[in-house]
Symmetry: C2
Subunit: 510 residues, 2 copies
């Protein structure tokens, strides 16, 4: 498919009139055609007005219709074939295998939400039958969930497929019955256009109202801010930086009608290496850890950026092998020049904090925008004193905190900000007291706890929680991955004393 | 039980050091002993610190323990006997029957949440078993809900029992496993102290950590603001004015760690009288309507403050009978002098809007702080032009909007702000097109739709939704009445690859 550089506003293609943006191959800084242009306020208004109009008919479509729509989007994405993978590779620097895997995840999560729609759980149907003889009489009461309204979704730089145009937020919002307006991430406009085309075609193929989907481009932040402020928009899905997420939260809270913002923002995903586990085979643990740290150049919200362990010979062996592996590793191209610069700046800032020292660093970069994986170290007493040491450095960077006691490990857990994940390495035999104490604390700090594993790799399933207390997300009561993500875009409505014929169909005949 | 005027901070009783406050009997403006004193910032800190300490052990209590705790609170409230009813009557001006009914509801909702705890739904347990043969292998994933942390609850003036110290917010938060700090409503400190005693005793009888419950008094707003801003507090429950609710929302959003605020604020609960239903028996409908309007001097969040109907002889007959009934009605004492003043001021302001005229008003008050029920009227074209006509006047006041067409009735529905309830009166035979169109619109504006009934009287059950889009509440995704209210204070946590012995007990053996 040939790229046009145009946005999607309902069924039409629109050339933007604002500032130009153009993708860049981060591997060689070459710009990639075509030129995209930023949407203007009238484009935002038009997309929002179409979404508002589409909401009425779209929310009334039956679940099977929406399920087939999601499956059609999935089919259309697969039909983009090699062109999508090639373009995404060029725009993001991510390798083929990763992008093929991500495409699979994207397609599967669309299909998963189709299955969610075919079951009834998402409707949360409740009924209390009338009790006419009671004093006072109880009327018949039934309830079900309905969608909130049009949703603004922000494409994420680090998941050009799975959390961008047809990613998790879009899939769950469309499943809920909410029209979606996506603000494409400027780092991968071509990938966004291709997927946008797949989505726009699916709207047409399924005979849905055109306003169910729009896709806008922007070189800056105006379009996103205007979307979140627009009265037609009733919820926001975002994956990105804490700065970006909190800015959207502030806009949403200041609206005449405040709306929920589901922002997945920052997390350093602490891993606690308990002594018994460390002692079993520190070298293998170090190798597995560095693999997780370097996966995708560390550009994951679940990147394990904080290690906590007790000093001793086992930790020394862990450090030695991790150092060896890092020093022997290859540079990896980061998503954008801006992200590569931010990685280096963040690392410099973290390394300059009192008590922080360099443990190991990958060899100097041989190409533009490469991430040199880095392991820094500090001691517990520094970490406990300096909240700045909890700052996320987006990329393959980690801080190892050396502790002298279990009490210090626990104190570190207690001082943590909200996290997406927290992990423990332990054996079945010993240390369960510390493990239990850590779990009890970490449960209140994170959305997902994992044992003897690494946080990278987020399963899309019913038990998944990809969320966690602020600042990991703006709303720790929810998850952006897994079936429960649909709940974010629903609210309950109660129907009292309704005659059967006026009840919503799913509440009839209960 | 003799009142002391002291606050409850954990297991201790504390005399406040701040500004004095004293209850007043609104029937005669007589002050009621004892004198209460506002809590100071050190009291807030102490209650929050105790709540923080209590959270760990309290959230680990098994559901049966918490169920018995709720039942013990209910028993203790009943044991307060006549003293509670007498004091509440004196402080609120509400009649005995109403307060005895409200006590029943309060006790029943505590018992309902005990039953909620004995079922598993509130935990939302999910499991995805390990798939070791898959590429990549899937780990075992299980999830359950855990409580958010200590909750600040604000007593409501209009429900001295059911939405105050041991009311719906407290019951649902305690059920969830959250310690509660209540800020008593200054209009009924004695009732609050009595119920606070019942609660504090229950904490002791059940052997729970003292910080599970505290109760603070305040003549002003400082204690409430300090509670919402305190880092130990993780959620807020509030029922009251839009001004109060939005102030708390702003404080919560500005915290370093923003927290959810569940504020139930304002609603005019529109009732649409469809012509066929109006024509059947306009006199009886008018009588039933005025009964609902005057219930509890209209001091309900579900008071039916907006009537919408088509002009014609049937509406004229409705108006004539409503006028007759209003003019023959008795004054009713309002909750406080401030609420009575606000009622009169709100009514004066609404009546002064262009196009608004007086239809009927109850006879002049014969005693202090009485509500003179009032029906105002306007025409659809005025209502559609002036958003001010949607202002809530707390008390027995309503605005009747006369329409010339079904289209105007629909336009009024479309222009409504978020509401707790919206109702239709109709017959089974005709007008279903208009009814369907109205229902479709009102579904997006309200939390509960009702047919051929009146919104006053909120059933506490599983299908109830006492919520609705902003500004009816701060968060239309939730309900403050009914079993689902517990969900407000929970969040999911996922456990990945946990050995059986380290799993939370409810996730073992799945």
């Amino acid at each position: 498919m040939k790229l046009t550089g145009q946005a999607f506003i309902g069924a039409t293609r629109v050339a933007g009139q604002g500032n130009a943006l153009q993708a860049m191959d981060p591997a060689d800084n070459a710009t990639l055609d075509p030129v995209y242009s930023s949407a203007q306020s009238q484009d935002v208004d038009r997309a929002c007005e179409l979404a508002r109009q589409a909401f009425g008919p779209y929310r009334k479509t039956d679940p099977e219709t929406r399920a087939r729509f999601l499956e059609t989007i999935a089919d259309n994405i697969l039909e983009l074939g090699e062109g999508l993978i090639q373009r995404a590779m060029a725009e993001t620097g991510l390798p083929r295998a990763r992008l093929e895997g991500e495409r699979g995840r994207t397609v599967n999560q669309l299909k998963l939400f189709a299955e969610v729609l075919r079951a009834d759980r998402w409707l949360d149907i409740q009924r209390d039958p009338a009790l006419p003889e009671r004093t006072p009489p109880r009327p018949d009461l039934r309830s079900r969930n309905i969608p909130l309204g049009p949703v603004a979704v922000f494409g994420a730089s680090n998941f050009p497929l799975a959390f961008s145009v047809a990613g998790g937020d879009t899939a769950s919002a469309l499943a809920a019955g909410c029209p979606v307006i996506v603000k494409a991430h400027p780092a991968h406009p071509g990938t966004s256009e291709l997927v946008g085309h797949a989505l726009q075609q699916a709207v047409k193929q399924c005979g849905l109202d055109e306003g169910v989907f729009s896709l806008l481009f922007d070189a800056g932040h105006d379009v996103g801010a205007a979307l979140v402020a627009h009265p037609a928009i009733k919820a926001v899905g975002f994956t990105g930086s804490r700065k970006g997420g909190t800015a959207l939260m502030a806009i949403a809270a200041a609206r005449p009608e405040p709306i929920p913002v589901y922002a997945e923002m920052s997390s350093i995903n602490p891993l606690f290496l308990l002594s018994d586990a460390l002692e079993v085979d520190p070298e293998t643990l170090a190798e597995q850890y560095v693999d997780s740290l370097q996966m995708g150049a560390g550009q994951f919200c679940t990147n394990p950026g904080l290690l906590v362990a007790r000093t001793g010979p086992a930790l020394d062996r862990f450090i030695a092998r991790a150092t060896e592996k890092l020093q022997g590793s290859q540079g990896q191209t980061m998503l954008t020049p801006g992200i590569a610069q931010a990685y280096n700046a963040g690392l410099t800032s973290l390394a300059a904090q009192p008590g922080v020292e360099l443990i190991a660093r990958a060899p100097d970069a041989q190409a533009p925008n490469q991430c040199q994986s880095t392991l820094l170290g500090t001691r517990a007493e520094h970490f406990l004193k300096q909240p700045e040491l909890q700052s996320e450095v987006f990329g393959s960077a980690a801080l190892l905190v050396q502790c002298d006691s279990d009490a210090q490990m626990l104190a570190i857990a207690r001082g943590l900000e909200g996290q997406l994940t927290a992990g423990l390495h332990l054996t079945d035999q010993v240390d369960t007291t510390l493990a239990r104490e850590l779990i009890e604390v970490l449960e209140t700090r994170a959305g997902r706890l994992l044992i003897n594993g690494f946080p990278t790799g987020v399963e899309v399933c019913s038990a998944m929680v990809h969320g966690g207390p602020y600042p990991a997300t703006s709303d720790g009561r929810t998850t952006s991955v897994g079936t429960r993500a649909i709940d974010r875009f629903l609210r309950p409505v109660c129907y009292q004393n309704f005659p059967e014929t006026l009840l919503p169909v799913e509440l009839q005949g209960l």
